[in-house]
């Protein structure tokens, strides 16, 4: 889902670092307040978890697969701030240690996927779990994919408007909103269904596993 390196203009990616830095600082502070000395080991483990959740396969009908995002699983089970920091660290790790992704898209991807995806998932789960827990988990997974996809579609789609040459030719991502919105949103609306299923099944399996440990 995330934006690769080189498709965002500096007018987009440089300002994005300001809110991202503020939220990283706030998230680190909140996490330190709640976890204290266990914060660092927990954050490292959550980051490794976010990394591996992004490797899990979401099976599609017909035998093919796409990668899960795992954002809703993290947000629902461990909280929004942990999910945001863990996803941001995975993106940084992929950019700086594995050479995948990239620093120009890091802040935008972290805000869209890590922050807005986690918030959307957590709100959907909190709002709907009194109605039906399974439905709440499923919808949390779905919105955790659809909301970041919408933000990413909008950010990509405005590139030709904010970065073009004197002749009006795009300098970065070349498609406008009329193309990015359907092209990004339609597949992600379907992929979100798989993410919803994974969030529901993953959370219920984790609860069963923890109940077995406790017994």
């Amino acid at each position: 889902m995330h934006i690769p390196d080189g498709f965002l203009s500096p007018q987009t990616y440089l300002p994005a670092y300001a809110p991202a830095a503020g939220l990283w600082w706030l998230a680190a502070r909140r996490l330190r307040r709640t976890l204290d000395a266990d914060t660092l080991p927990w954050l490292a483990a959550a980051t490794a978890l976010a990394f591996v959740l992004m490797m899990l396969a979401l099976p599609l009908p017909g035998g093919s697969t796409v990668h899960a995002a795992g954002i809703a699983l993290l947000a629902v089970n461990f909280g929004v701030w942990t999910a945001f920091l863990a996803v941001s660290l995975v993106l940084a790790m992929q950019a700086l240690l594995f050479g995948a992704g990239g620093v120009t898209a890091l802040a935008v991807n972290a805000l869209a996927m890590g922050f807005l995806g986690s918030i959307a998932a957590w709100l959907a789960w909190r709002g709907l779990r009194i109605v039906n827990e399974a439905l709440a988990l499923f919808l949390a997974g779905w919105v955790s994919v659809v909301v970041p996809a919408l933000v990413i579609a909008i950010i990509l789609g405005i590139q030709p408007l904010i970065a073009h040459d004197a002749a009006g030719r795009p300098l970065f991502f070349p498609f406008g909103l009329s193309i990015t919105l359907p092209a990004v949103m339609l597949p992600h609306i379907l992929v979100g269904l798989g993410e919803g299923l994974l969030t529901w099944l993953g959370t219920t399996t984790l609860k069963r596993l923890q109940a077995r440990h406790a017994a």
Partner: protein, 184 residues
């Protein structure tokens, strides 16, 4: 140690410059410079870069070609610029990753450096276990598993990783506390 940090700053500066340059000639000069710097690694890094960018860039380029054909404008200048910029940026990143110890480059913040080192080692471990899970499902399925079974396998793996992450975090905290890392 200082060298790695300086190279990180240089890398970030060059990335910014590459996104400010919109002339394919300058970007081509940059590409040549990076390939020369890569030396004997040049071909390997170039192949790796092309493998990484191929699918997304091909999709964008073919889509833009189609749009240009329908609307009747020339797409070539834009396609050359966009593809060249992505190629230069990605190649530069791979060169940076191959030449710089990134954990040392980030040691201006010991917490960040330590956090990334711990997360990186655990991520590599989880990646190996994930491959084991995938192979286990394949080896135990004489026929292709049903869609729901494949979801159950992914969900069981997700739950196992979440449970393991909690346990690993507790173990790491205890080990660090025992060695006086937190100063208590």
């Amino acid at each position: 140690m200082k060298r790695d940090r300086l190279l990180l700053i240089l890398y970030l500066t060059v990335v910014l410059v590459i996104t400010l340059v919109h002339d394919p000639l300058w970007l081509s000069a940059g590409l040549t410079g990076i390939l020369l710097l890569a030396g004997r690694q040049a071909l390997h890094l170039l192949r790796r870069t092309l493998r990484v960018i191929l699918v997304f860039n091909l999709a964008v380029s073919l889509g833009y070609l189609l749009l240009a054909h329908v609307r009747g404008f020339s797409p070539w200048d834009t396609l050359l610029l966009i593809n060249l910029r992505v190629l230069v940026l990605t190649l530069l990143t791979f060169l940076f990753v191959s030449r710089v110890n990134q954990l040392r480059a980030l040691d201006f913040s010991p917490t960040l450096s330590w956090l990334l080192a711990l997360a990186y080692s655990q991520a590599l471990n989880f990646r190996r276990v994930h491959a084991d899970f995938r192979l286990a499902l394949e080896s135990r399925s004489p026929l292709r598993p049903r869609l729901l079974d494949r979801y159950r396998a992914s969900a069981a793996a997700a739950a196992w990783f979440m449970d393991k992450a909690l346990a690993t975090s507790r173990e790491s905290a205890q080990a660090l506390r025992a060695r006086g890392f937190f100063g208590d």
